[in-house]
């Protein structure tokens, strides 16, 4: 009996260890394919059901993201001005905003395919870019979609997404900074909350 427990314990441990060992490119590929598979079959999402897209993103995509890190990067030096409580609110609000944006993008999906570019993980690397490309059937122009991942104790976590060279996270830097400059940290929190509220209203309408 004891050995059975040990065996199960050992298996569980092995499973967690394996989960941690998933290479960043494999992670991106698995999640992308999984999500696309669902979106391809889901007519509701394709016809603009943002709520359903949000649920999908929350379940499949989010566990692989590090939102604290994202918020910190978007706020740059203002991050340190915020109290831990404010940092928590900011992270939550930014989380909501990014999820909504990402979900909206999913509802615009139309038969594109995603190609994964060659990737090799060098020994000891903890900060990597995994490159993918969205290919539109027929038209020549592809869009690069790159993921930046960082190694955390719980595995690789995405902390930035770049679309055609535009970083979704750093693109908020200037507007966050000017908001903080004019209205302080509280002002930024208020404007994020207002933005998320208005987004909620439109996604309910749809």
């Amino acid at each position: 009996m004891k050995s059975l427990f040990a065996l199960i314990g050992g298996l569980l441990f092995a499973a967690t260890a394996m989960a941690q060992e998933v290479a960043p490119d494999v992670l991106v590929k698995t999640v992308t394919n999984e999500v696309l598979e669902i979106v391809r079959k889901d007519k509701d999402i394709q016809s603009g059901n943002t709520k359903k897209a949000i649920d999908l993103v929350e379940a499949k995509v989010l566990p692989n993201f590090n939102f604290t890190r994202m918020t910190q990067l978007a706020m740059a030096r203002d991050w340190r001005q915020a109290s831990p409580a404010q940092q928590k609110i900011l992270t939550d609000e930014f989380h909501t905003l990014l999820v909504r944006t990402y979900s909206k993008a999913l509802t615009e999906y139309k038969n594109q395919t995603v190609a994964f570019k060659p990737f090799t993980l060098k020994a000891g690397e903890t900060d990597v870019r995994v490159r993918t490309e969205i290919q539109q059937a027929g038209a020549g122009k592809n869009v690069e979609l790159d993921y930046w991942l960082e190694k955390a104790p719980s595995g690789w976590k995405v902390y930035d997404i770049e679309v055609g060279g535009i970083s979704l996270v750093t693109n908020y830097r200037e507007s966050f900074a000017s908001e903080v400059r004019n209205n302080g940290i509280e002002g930024l929190i208020k404007s994020l909350q207002a933005k998320n509220k208005s987004g909620e209203a439109t996604s309910v309408k749809k």
Binding site: Q72, W79, A139
Partner: protein, 280 residues
């Protein structure tokens, strides 16, 4: 003499560039955007124009035409662009890319029925994205001030000069008779706008302040294009350590946070961008 459309566009572009460069009065906190007041007004004008005329027309076009036709239109103009992209690659010293662009034009113009079908991409000849603004960037010319110009939208001072050359060298704008040229210019404009329709909703969803969101996206995009997808990484710029909220709890003020001035950061970036493009 009646001025032609491209001539007028050029005049407008030059005038606006001049205004943009000289009107240093409407200052703002952002060193990349010294004429923010002027730019916001122009942005509002462009948004109004888009909402009233351009977007409805693009929507109609998008709804009426079947997507193979739209793809054909996109490819047709894209093929004409390739010629000019090749010239810019040559000017940037990227000879293999320039030959590849020429190969694309040759394949697509013949087998691809005047460019309507993009066989070259299927054959593995990658589509590039170049223009005179990028060529200047490669040569080490900095961005200059960000400027929003009528109809065309976001540019930098450098890219505005680039745009004037782009228009001057554009085979479509130089096409005669003017009647077909105007038709072609209008078709290209509407088709380009229609291709951007899906992005609209995402931007509306994402942006806290649409003006600065579009500005910063434009600046990032141009930087990426000038470096052909491999710009020096800037994300770590004074972001601090990656250990989350605990940093503030420790209550130890980081001396850099107090000392770091606002202006030199972008200035440093521009310098780095230039240095690395010169090094190439």
């Amino acid at each position: 003499m009646k001025t032609t459309l491209p001539a007028r566009i050029k005049t407008v572009a030059v005038a606006v560039a001049a205004t943009g460069l000289l009107a240093g009065c409407a200052t703002s906190g952002n060193p990349k955007d010294p004429i923010e007041g002027f730019n916001r007004a122009m942005f509002a004008f462009n948004e109004g124009l888009d909402a009233a005329i351009v977007k409805p027309v693009a929507k109609g076009y998008d709804a009426v035409l079947p997507s193979p036709i739209k793809t054909g239109v996109t490819n047709f103009f894209s093929n004409i662009d390739d010629l000019f992209i090749g010239v810019n690659n040559l000017l940037q010293g990227k000879v293999p890319e320039a030959f590849s662009d020429l190969g694309r034009v040759m394949i697509n113009t013949t087998v691809g029925l005047l460019g309507v079908i993009d066989f070259a991409s299927d054959a593995g000849l990658e589509k590039h994205d170049e223009d005179f603004g990028q060529t200047f960037g490669r040569w080490g010319v900095g961005n200059g001030a960000y400027v929003v110009i009528p109809v065309f939208g976001s540019r930098t001072a450098r890219d505005t000069v680039g745009l004037v050359l782009d228009v001057a060298a554009d085979p479509v704008a130089n096409h005669r008779p003017t009647r077909t040229r105007d038709l072609a210019l209008a078709l290209r404009f509407v088709n380009d706008r229609a291709n951007l329709l899906p992005a609209d909703k995402v931007i509306e969803e994402a942006a806290l302040d649409k003006y600065s969101y579009m500005r910063d996206a434009y600046l990032q995009r141009r930087r990426n294009l000038i470096h052909d997808g491999n710009p020096p990484r800037e994300i770590e710029a004074d972001a601090g350590p990656a250990d989350g909220p605990q940093t503030a709890e420790a209550g130890v003020p980081d001396p850099r946070a107090e000392l770091a001035p606002v202006a030199p950061v972008p200035a440093l970036l521009v310098a780095r961008t230039q240095a690395s493009s010169e090094a190439k």
